[in-house]
C-alpha cells in the first residue's frame, strides 16, 4: 500500500464506528506466538562487539527515559535524577545525556527547575505519566485534568495509559476516542501511549492496540508502566516495531516505540537496538523514535562504557546511585 488519499479515508472509515474499528483491528494479520518468540530469540543471538558495541551503548544512553515513579518520590530525589540525566557520568564530559526524565506530574516542576537551571541547554526532555497512571481507572475528565496539570507544569512529553478494561471488553472506539482526547489535551507535547502489554497478554492484542494508538495520533507506543509483570519483552517489542514499520508503509508517518520496565543490562538494551535496526529499520535508531523506559539500566550502560574505554570494569561505587 502506498500513501494516498484513499488510504487516509480508509483509516478514517475504520474509526467511524465501534463495529468498523473492530472489523479493522480484527482484520489485521495474526501473530503466531511461537514464530514471533523464535524471531526475537534469533535476533538476540547477534554478537555486537568493539566499535558496534561502543556505538550501541552511547545510543542506548541517549535513548533512556530516566525514570522514577514511586510513591516515595520527593523533590530531592527528582533533582538528583535530573542532574544525573544531564551528566550520567560526571567524570566523563563526552558521555551523552539521556533523552528525558520520566516522573509523576507533581514532580515535573522540580525536574524543570534542575534541567533549566543548566540554561535549558541540556536537551533533556521532561516526560510525565498521566491519565490516572498506572491503572487508568478514572473518569475521562479527571484523566484530562491530570494531563493538563502535567503540561502546564512544563512536561514536554506525556506518557498516558490506555483503558485496558475497555480494550479487553472490546470497546475499542472508547479507547480510541480517549487517546484522541488526550492527544488534543497535550497540545505541543509529545504523546506516548502505554498499553500495559502484561495485561493485554496476547501478541494479537498488542498488534491491535498498536494500530489503535497510531491511528489515534500517538507519537510513541509504549509497552508498560513498569508496575505489572511481565513488562517489556523482546517479542512484544518486535510486534510493536512491526506495527510502526507497517504504519509508515500505509500512511508515511513514523511513530516511535518505547519498551519500559525490566530492561536492566546493556546486553539486553543492545538486543533491543539490534531488533530496531533489523525490524523497523535504521531510521528508528534515534532518541526521537526509540526510547528505553528504565532506571537501573543507565548505570550498567555507564559501566560497560567505561569498560570499553579503559579495558577494566569499575565497581558500582564509581557510578552515582540515582
Amino acid at each position: 500500500m502506498t500513501v494516498t488519499s484513499s488510504t487516509a479515508s480508509f483509516l478514517a472509515d475504520a474509526t467511524s464506528s465501534d463495529a468498523a474499528l473492530r472489523r479493522f483491528l480484527h482484520g489485521l494479520p495474526g501473530v503466531d506466538q511461537v514464530g514471533a518468540e523464535q524471531r526475537a530469540a534469533g535476533l538476540g543471538t547477534r554478537s555486537i562487539k568493539t566499535s558496534a558495541k561502543e556505538f550501541a551503548i552511547d545510543l542506548a544512553i541517549r535513548m533512556v527515559d530516566l525514570t522514577t515513579l514511586e510513591g516515595a518520590d520527593t523533590p530531592g530525589k527528582v533533582r538528583a535524577l535530573s542532574t544525573k540525566a544531564m551528566h550520567p557520568d560526571p567524570a566523563d564530559p563526552t558521555c551523552p545525556s539521556t533523552a528525558a526524565v520520566c516522573v509523576y506530574p507533581d514532580m515535573v516542576p522540580f525536574a524543570k527547575e534542575t534541567l533549566s537551571h543548566a540554561g535549558g541547554t541540556s536537551g533533556v526532555h521532561i516526560a510525565a505519566v498521566a491519565t490516572a497512571f498506572p491503572s487508568g481507572r478514572a473518569a475521562l475528565d479527571i484523566k484530562l485534568a491530570d494531563v493538563q496539570d502535567a503540561v502546564e507544569a512544563g512536561a514536554d512529553e506525556i506518557d498516558m495509559v490506555i483503558d485496558r478494561g475497555a480494550f479487553l471488553s472490546g470497546r475499542y472506539l472508547e479507547v480510541y476516542e480517549e487517546i484522541v482526547a488526550v492527544r488534543e489535551a497535550v497540545g505541543d507535547a509529545h504523546l506516548k501511549v502505554i498499553f500495559e502489554t502484561g495485561e493485554l497478554q496476547t501478541y494479537d492484542n498488542v498488534r491491535r492496540a498498536s494500530w489503535l494508538a497510531m491511528m489515534a495520533g500517538g507519537h510513541f507506543i509504549k509497552t508498560s508502566t513498569g508496575k505489572i509483570q511481565p513488562a517489556a519483552t523482546l517479542p512484544v517489542t518486535l510486534v510493536m516495531l512491526e506495527a510502526v514499520r507497517d504504519f509508515r508503509e500505509v500512511t508515511g508517518q513514523m511513530v516511535g516505540v518505547k519498551p519500559a520496565g525490566g530492561i536492566r543490562s546493556s546486553k539486553d538494551a543492545i538486543k533491543y537496538l539490534v531488533m530496531v535496526n533489523e525490524v523497523a529499520g535504521p531510521d528508528w535508531l534515534d532518541p526521537d523514535w526509540f526510547r528505553f523506559g528504565a532506571s537501573t539500566l543507565l548505570n550498567d550502560l555507564l559501566m560497560q562504557r567505561t569498560k570499553m574505554q579503559t579495558g577494566r570494569y569499575s565497581g558500582p561505587d564509581y557510578f552515582t546511585l540515582d
Binding site: Q38, R46, S51
Partner: protein, 475 residues
C-alpha cells in the same frame, strides 16, 4: 554513523586440524590404500587437510571389523549397556560442541550460528534420544524380541555432515548393529573427529568404522556382500543407483533423497512469521537442505504484500564469513554445487522468470551465491521442478486451497511441506491431502529426534528419527 555490526568471528583455536587423516577401522586410524584427496574450506578455498581414500580392500577390512565387533561384542551386549555408550557419546558431543561447530563451519561453509545452535545440539539430542531406546526395543512395536540387522553400510551427504552422521549412527547402534559409514568427500572432518570421540568413549573397536572417499568408496560399501543394511542420504540419482545395486539381495535399504517442497502461504497467515518461515525454509544452510521450502506457493490475493515483506527481510540477511557469529548465509559447499546453482538460475532467467537478489557484497575467494528469488514462476519452468539445492526460491501463486494442494503435489518428490494459516481446520485438511513425509504448520525446518522424517515418491523410503527410525535397523 549507522549501526554497523563489527566483525565477531568465532575463534578457530578450539580446533586442531591435522595435516592428514587416515581411515578409522577397528578402533584405530590406519592408512588408506586409495589415492588421498584434499578437503578445502569452501569460504576461502584454503586446503584444510589431506584425507585418505578407502578402496575395495579397505572397505572389506572395515566390514570385517564391523562383523567381528557385531558377533563378538555389540549384538551380545545388553541394551542397557549399549545405551550407556550412547549416552557417553552424547555427553562428549555436548562437551566438545564448540570444537565440532567450528570445525563443521570451516569444512562445510555453513554459518557458525547454525552449526552452534542447530547441527551440533540436534546431533547430541539424537544420541540422547536413541540411547534411551536401547533397552526398550521390545516395547517399540516391532515384535516381542526384535533383533539387529547386523552390519550397516551408511553413506551421508555434505549438507549436514555431523547431524546426518548422528541420524545414521545413533539408531543403528541403539538397535545393536555395527556400522561402516562414509562421510561426503567435501566434508569429512567432523566424521573423523567423531571417530576420536568413539575412542574417547571407549566404544569397542569395530562398532563404528569411518571410511573417507568419494562415490567409488560409497559404492563399495553398499555393494559389499557382508553388509546387511544400507542407509543413504543424498541425491535421488545416487539413491536410484543404490536401489538398483542392492535389488535382489537380502539387504534392507532406507533412502532419504531430494525434495522440492512447497511452502504454502494463505491469505490469513500470520504474515510476519510466514515471511520468517519462507526465509528459514529456503535460506537456512544456504538452501542446501533436502526438505528446503524451495517452492513458495502464495495465495494470489496477498502475493504482492508477502513479496514486498520478503524482499525487505532478505535485504537484512548477512552473507559472508561462516565463522562470524552474525552471518546468516555462509558459503556454497563446493565449486561443483555453485556451478549447478548458477546453471539452474540462469535457466530460470532464460525461461522468463523474474530474478531478484538483495544488494550484497560477496567475498572474493570461495564459493558464494546471493539469496535469490524468482517471481512469475509457473509449473512449466524447470526451476519449479528441479531441485536446485541452493539459496534460490521459486514463487508460484494459487487461488484456492484445492489448487494449492494440486500444485504442491505436482512434483516427483514428496519430502516436506509447510502451511501458513491461522485457520486450524484448513491446515489439518491440507496436511491430510499433501503427499509429503513432513508437514509443518506455521513453521518450517524444525527438527526433533522424536519426530520421524522421510519421503514420499522419489524423495525416498524409510523413516529416520523417532520410534519409526528404529524399524530400519531391526528385523
Amino acid at each position: 554513523m549507522g549501526f554497523e555490526y563489527a566483525p565477531a568471528p568465532e575463534s578457530r583455536s578450539v580446533v586442531d586440524i591435522k595435516s592428514s587423516y587416515g581411515l578409522f577401522i577397528n578402533g584405530e586410524f590406519v592408512d588408506g590404500s586409495g589415492k588421498a584427496f584434499k578437503s578445502i574450506s569452501p569460504s576461502t578455498e584454503e586446503v584444510l587437510a589431506e584425507v585418505a581414500e578407502a578402496d575395495d580392500h579397505d572397505v572389506d577390512q572395515a566390514v570385517k571389523a564391523a562383523r567381528r565387533a557385531y558377533n563378538r561384542v555389540w549384538s551380545r551386549m545388553s541394551g542397557a549397556e549399549r545405551g550407556k555408550y550412547l549416552f557417553r557419546i552424547a555427553r562428549i558431543i555436548q562437551e566438545r560442541s564448540r570444537e565440532l561447530a567450528v570445525l563443521e563451519s570451516i569444512d562445510n561453509g555453513k554459518p557458525i550460528k547454525e552449526s552452534r545452535d542447530v547441527d551440533i545440539p540436534t546431533a547430541a539430542a539424537h544420541f540422547f534420544y536413541y540411547a534411551g531406546w536401547a533397552d526398550k526395543l521390545e516395547y517399540a512395536g516391532y515384535g516381542p524380541d526384535p533383533q539387529p540387522m547386523g552390519v550397516a553400510g551408511q553413506v551421508i551427504p555434505w549438507n549436514f555432515p555431523f547431524l546426518m552422521l548422528a541420524w545414521k549412527i545413533a539408531p543403528a547402534l541403539a538397535c545393536g548393529n555395527t556400522v561402516v559409514l562414509k562421510p561426503a568427500e567435501t566434508t569429512p572432518l567432523t566424521a573423523l573427529l567423531f571417530a576420536e570421540i568413539c575412542q574417547q568413549a571407549d566404544l569397542p573397536p569395530g562398532v563404528v568404522n569411518i571410511l573417507t572417499g568419494a562415490g567409488a568408496t560409497g559404492q563399495a560399501i553398499v555393494s559389499h556382500d557382508d553388509v546387511d543394511k544400507v542407509a543413504f542420504t543424498g541425491s535421488t540419482d545416487v539413491g536410484r543407483a543404490i536401489a538398483k545395486a542392492v535389488a535382489g539381495s537380502r539387504k534392507k535399504v532406507t533412502l532419504e533423497l531430494g525434495g522440492k517442497a512447497a511452502n504454502i502461504v494463505f491469505d490469513d497467515a500470520p504474515v510476519d512469521q510466514a515471511v520468517e518461515g519462507i526465509v528459514n525454509g529456503i535460506f537456512f544452510n544456504q538452501g542446501h537442505v533436502c526438505c528446503a521450502g524451495s517452492r513458495l506457493l502464495v495465495q494470489e490475493s496477498v502475493a504482492e504484500e508477502v513479496l514486498a515483506k520478503l524482499k525487505r527481510r532478505m535485504s537484512t540477511l548477512r552473507v559472508g564469513d561462516p565463522l562470524d557469529k552474525n552471518t546468516d548465509i555462509g558459503a556454497i559447499n563446493s565449486a561443483e554445487q555453485l556451478a549447478k546453482i548458477r546453471e539452474l538460475s540462469d535457466i530460470g532467467e532464460a525461461e522468463g522468470a523474474g530474478r531478484w537478489s538483495p544488494k550484497c557484497d560477496l567475498p572474493d575467494h570461495g564459493f558464494w551465491f546471493p539469496p535469490t528469488i524468482f517471481t512469475g514462476v509457473t509449473a512449466a519452468h524447470r526451476i519449479a521442478r528441479e531441485e536446485i539445492f541452493g539459496p534460490v526460491l521459486s514463487v508460484i501463486t494459487f487461488r484456492t486451497p484445492k489448487e494449492a494442494v494440486e500444485k504442491a503435489n505436482n512434483t516427483p518428490y514428496g519430502l516436506s511441506a509447510g502451511i501458513w494459516s491461522d485457520k486450524g481446520s484448513r491446515t489439518l485438511w491440507m496436511a491430510s491431502q499433501l503427499r509429503a513425509g513432513v508437514v509443518w504448520s506455521n513453521t518450517f525446518n524444525r527438527f526433533d529426534p522424536a519426530s520421524p522424517f522421510g519421503g514420499y515418491k522419489e524423495s525416498g523410503y524409510g523413516r529416520e528419527g523417532g520410534r519409526h527410525g528404529l524399524e530400519g535397523y531391526l528385523k
